[in-house]
């Protein structure tokens, strides 16, 4: 069964093949469900001129924010950035190109990329700067804009549990962009908290079927909280 054993045992192996200039799709929302260690490995490797596709860009010193320190990101597609002083400076200085993309459109572009749908129409963004230069067409009496799919050279994903076949489940809202990101990578790498034996995951309850996954690695996670909010 070597053919379906997707486990790797070092982060170096997990990100083998990543090169400067590549497009990396990352799961996560804010700091929740982000592939912390895969990001750190990208930093360690020092690859540059990356195009990053991710809902957010981490914070100073954590998450995708660490890739800003050595200016590894050339361009980012995101819906919300700038929780992050370094990011703001690089954006204002024109060192990083930012393509702001509505959150739902971003998710759908990843889903479309994975699903072999090259483009779709959506009402989201019509009449706004997002719609500028895009084809407009009316459906059901309402204008829509054409949005194209996204795929990446790599997708980096944070799961909860996986089996060696690459079947993955996510925990709570750490799911977010991870399942769609996982479908859209030419090489999809998933880091998880626990690798379980095949058969332990209920086949009907798998969020990401193994067919989308190329490499699985078990890691340890800090899981930093961005806005700790409690009730009395």
């Amino acid at each position: 069964m070597a053919g379906f054993d997707k486990r790797v045992y070092s982060y170096e192996d997990a990100m083998a093949g990543i090169e400067s200039g590549m497009t990396v799709i990352a799961g996560g929302f804010g700091l929740c469900g982000i592939p912390e260690n895969l990001i750190d490995e990208i930093k360690r490797r020092g690859v540059r001129d990356l195009t990053v596709v991710s809902n957010n860009c981490g914070v100073d010193g954590f998450g995708l924010g660490v890739l800003l320190e050595d200016r590894q990101i050339k361009k980012i597609l995101a819906s919300y950035v700038g929780e992050n002083a370094l990011f703001e400076r690089q954006m204002l200085d024109g060192e990083i190109e930012v393509v702001l993309t509505p959150q739902g459109t971003l998710a759908e572009k990843m889903r479309a990329g994975g699903a072999g749908i090259p483009a779709f129409y959506t009402a989201t963004g019509y009449g706004t700067p997002v719609g500028e230069g895009k084809e407009v067409r009316e459906f059901n009496g309402r204008p829509h804009i054409l949005e194209e799919a996204i795929t990446g050279d790599f997708a980096i994903v944070k799961g909860w549990k996986a089996d060696r076949y690459g079947n993955v489940v996510y925990r709570h809202t750490a799911q977010n962009f991870n399942p769609v990101a996982a479908t859209a990578g030419r090489i999809t790498v998933v880091e998880v908290e626990e690798i379980v034996e095949p058969g332990e995951l209920d086949p009907s309850q798998i969020h990401t079927p193994g067919i989308y996954v190329d490499r699985i690695i078990q890691g340890c996670f800090e899981k930093r909280i961005e806005k700790r909010t409690v009730r009395d």
Binding site: F29, G104, T128, P143
Partner: protein, 219 residues
């Protein structure tokens, strides 16, 4: 007197109906959850992938894997569902959310809304706002009627880059509740003690004032 933030939330809460799925934006919209009428149940959708958002957690319950769209730690209520961002925005874009409440910088008489970008200022992004306004039939915008400098936010035409075009039908400000119809704001209710004249003066867009403009009441 202008409504307080709490009163604004209270007024919006009167638009809730039992069984509504509701998406509440950051700020005043979030407060609406505190004023769900007794005996009524609404389900909160958080666009990061949570239907059935519960209260904030206790210290013991805090879980970094359980947050809302504002990135705050939250809990899930019994009967909640959690799903991917693609599924979450399928719900939103597909019009399955019954009511969306969100803030704005400007709204105009065509129902356009500007809420995400002030040129020259740092742009952080639209997040899910463009999807929300494009997907919901039923949106209530909450904002102050005028800026701190007294400039109206209810315009004949938005001056800032739009979040969505022709999608807003209802606006609650600190002075009034208005509906947008056929290219005009229709003054439906006014804040207690606020005169129609004051509202008219602070509304730059076309305003239609019916014969009766009831005053809101709060307990």
């Amino acid at each position: 007197m202008a409504l307080t933030r709490e009163q604004m939330a209270q007024r919006v809460a009167r638009e809730l109906q039992d069984g509504f799925y509701v998406n509440l934006g950051i700020g005043i919209p979030t407060l609406v959850a505190n004023y769900v009428p007794e005996g009524m149940d609404v389900m909160l959708q958080s666009e990061n992938g949570l239907l059935g958002m519960g209260r904030f957690p206790t210290e013991e319950e805090v879980d970094p894997d359980m947050i809302n769209a504002g990135k705050q730690t939250v809990t899930a209520r019994s009967g909640a569902a959690i799903f991917s961002s693609a599924e979450s925005f399928a719900m939103i874009r597909g019009g399955h959310v019954d009511l969306t409440v969100l803030g704005a910088f400007e709204v105009d008489q065509q129902g356009n809304i500007a809420s995400w970008m002030v040129p020259g200022k740092l742009i952080k992004g639209m997040g899910g706002a463009m999807d929300l306004v494009a997907g919901a039939d039923n949106i209530i915008v909450t904002m102050t009627h005028a800026s701190k400098h007294g400039e109206s936010k209810l315009l004949s035409e938005c001056t800032l880059p739009l979040t969505g075009a022709g999608c807003i039908k209802r606006v609650l400000t600190d002075l009034a509740y208005l509906e947008i119809e056929d290219g005009a704001f229709i003054l439906k209710e006014r804040a207690p003690g606020v005169s129609v004249e004051e509202i008219a003066e602070k509304t730059a867009g076309r305003l239609i004032v019916p014969d009766e403009v009831p005053e809101m009441t709060f307990e």
